[in-house]
Symmetry: C2
Subunit: 499 residues, 2 copies
Amino acid sequence: MASIKDLKKKYREFSMLISAISLMGWDQRTYMPESGADHRSEAFGFVYSDLFRRATSDETGQLLSDLSEPGVYSSLSAVEQSMVDNAMRQYKRFKAIPPGLMHRFAVLSSKCEKIWETARKRDDFSMFKPHFQELLLMVKEMAKHYGYEENPYDALIEGYEPGMTASKLRKIIEPLRDFLVPLVEDLLMRSKSKNQLPSKGHYPRNLQQKLFLKVLDVLGFDFTRGRIDETAHPFTTTIGPGDIRISTKYPENDFTMGFFGTIHECGHAMYEMGFDENLVYTPVHNPASLGIHESQSLMFENHIGRSLPFLTYFYPKIQETFSPRLSEVSLRDFYKAVNTVSRSLIRIDADEVTYNLHIIIRFELENAMVNNMLEVDDLPAAWNEKYKQYLGVEPPNYADGVLQDVHWSSGMVGYFPTYMLGTLYSAQLFAKAKHELNGLEQGLMDGDTGPLVRWLRERVHKPGATHKPEKLIELVTGEKPDPKYFMDYVKHKYSEIYR
Amino acid sequence: MASIKDLKKKYREFSMLISAISLMGWDQRTYMPESGADHRSEAFGFVYSDLFRRATSDETGQLLSDLSEPGVYSSLSAVEQSMVDNAMRQYKRFKAIPPGLMHRFAVLSSKCEKIWETARKRDDFSMFKPHFQELLLMVKEMAKHYGYEENPYDALIEGYEPGMTASKLRKIIEPLRDFLVPLVEDLLMRSKSKNQLPSKGHYPRNLQQKLFLKVLDVLGFDFTRGRIDETAHPFTTTIGPGDIRISTKYPENDFTMGFFGTIHECGHAMYEMGFDENLVYTPVHNPASLGIHESQSLMFENHIGRSLPFLTYFYPKIQETFSPRLSEVSLRDFYKAVNTVSRSLIRIDADEVTYNLHIIIRFELENAMVNNMLEVDDLPAAWNEKYKQYLGVEPPNYADGVLQDVHWSSGMVGYFPTYMLGTLYSAQLFAKAKHELNGLEQGLMDGDTGPLVRWLRERVHKPGATHKPEKLIELVTGEKPDPKYFMDYVKHKYSEIYR
């Protein structure tokens, strides 16, 4: 008789291999000497293949199919059922792709990403094009294997945001786009001059380090269960349940990038640290989705970090750290500087207001490509056209235009919308928290993030992947995901800043 | 038909798992947050078990047995034969111990080591005794399973120093002991006052770091293939062929500990970095033995690092680094201070001359215990007796006496002699290098370690485990291992220092 214990045992084993894989990935990005690279790829690939073999074994399949039998399944608790559901969804996605195709995809996507790097440096789309065309064909083939009802795009986004579809996205995006385009227009009308960050200057690395440790401490980051290191591209990774690591960078001419980046990664880490420990090593001791994950990093970065209440508490500490450099910059000026709206070409440099327009552009283009409504040949023109239309800017080259992101080059189609969903979820969750927690903003002014963090832990973090993202938002806020909270939030915040 | 290719393929796979295991071990000692410990143990154990299962599988056994068939074996090259021999030796040792016993040993030795930690802190031998008695019984049982001709001790040391036996050791130890005991007496007669290190004082961590990087650079440590980190207990570990890592520490009251420790670990790392790259991932891309390994660390630490020629070159850089702290300490005084002979209780604090007496004591005691000539009950008294006899000191407590080392508590019996063999091999190899390389010492005075390093690489490092240690020494020096080189070396060096 198959039992949920067997599934837990299996996932516990998978978790050990995942941990080894995560550690190899972390080390590769932090401390590995350069000559270790080739060996690391091979070791990584070997352990990953071993995990894949176990996860897709007939034994795993049989166990999941036994547990899904109505008689067995109905005897399980709701949480156990979600374990089976999650494991089954993962198993099916793994098995959906024929091994040969999966292998060709791995090889091609890795090659294509390398070519993208060079193509971007050389600002040469034609060099990238044939490889991306080939990769896109493969992605479409994979979508067919995964299966979908309406739109092949649905099969792809499912891998990042379970339950999300292109048509649901469109219902969110249309009002959002129609709201954002005129809002940006309006805000920039009010203040033509771009708010220059007053923080440019020399900010010593060691002082930044001290400051970032301080802000992590205030935010409740548990250093017995995590650490922070320096990498070119900040990230968060989970090595094990008591071992969650973030990274940041310390460019000395501008500490704000690393500062808000650190707070952002802290939000990701708090989520991973917050899964119910009773669920450890099970298929639901995982994020509900990438959108929910991003909602937590953005909650920390934007709703806490870049908020006036929190900066009221923390900005004096920033001034003190870099004293006397910022002594003549008022709180208000700093707040405005780190919340400046501008029409930018580059997604990762974008502010809260324009950010989603970058995402919407990518969604519209990738959805069109997957549905054969747009050829890769025409992609740069379509890209530039949309930037002109939505953001009023036109990329002067490929590097700052269609070649700016790594995602497509590595075969990640359907990933971008999770960034946008993160902004929406975080606003909706924060609105709910504000409603339920008395004096939340006063708390932030006192540097007390405890009530908010505990609320998030209890409501959002603990369940892990027990619920799909849409359901989780509904359970926590009483409503389905709704972009109005985000729209209210940016309208209110930025009308005040640009009053 | 079994082929050497199959063996190479298998070992390549094992190497990937060994790499994951090594990385987990490295991370545990360097950067892992404290709450990651339990998970790490489990993940480590899981991957280790997986490796063990593969290494002891029937398939591996069959392959090795096929390759050992005279018809097949004789068709292999000498290096390939040594691959088979090494793999077979490892396989047989793994298989010799019944899985139940191996498991009980793993559990008990881990427990016993923990108890030793506490017992040492509390200076309580009686607390340690029953567990060590039980562990020793198990070690003797394992020796029976491994098999031996003369002495169960031989079965144990074979795991660390292939080909070595208690009787061979005794032939080395007797003249060595008879030489060392009066030598120490004589040296200390000449200078009653212990040469105080003139270097005590405040040596900032960041300056030590800079200095250690400089010395590693002079010694030829390749930072594209390695790195250095800080740990409580310095060590060297290989993550992969292009990724060999050392660690050190920076106590601010005495930089010499970390300085010579760094040079010591550099020697270990140079060995691992020097294996022939054509042998990569094979059973012989490994150290010949722990004794040979130690000979390389001691070559760097003592024959280079603590030598007058090298310090003639490097001491001015030390003075400069900590300027003006050491400006009044002459080269000669520094040289004497870091080569001071003293009767100490603690092995790891011992100088080059007395060090082997500590090892000889341990060998004599463990050999007696394994042969039922000494009961654990009587161990502390026997320990103190030998310290009095050989070193003229008597431990005032257990912590600085019989409980000072971790080895026995973790079941490592037969390990200590490899430290001594390292001192002998290093002296014999250095004597040969000096003979073959013109101007070796003049080179060291100019900070040019290149000729010696290349000589070591070609003669000692490249072969890896192709030869057993005794054979390797013979191939390189034209003679079997002989303690006379070590005796000549210390006699000459310390007579001059204590003249």
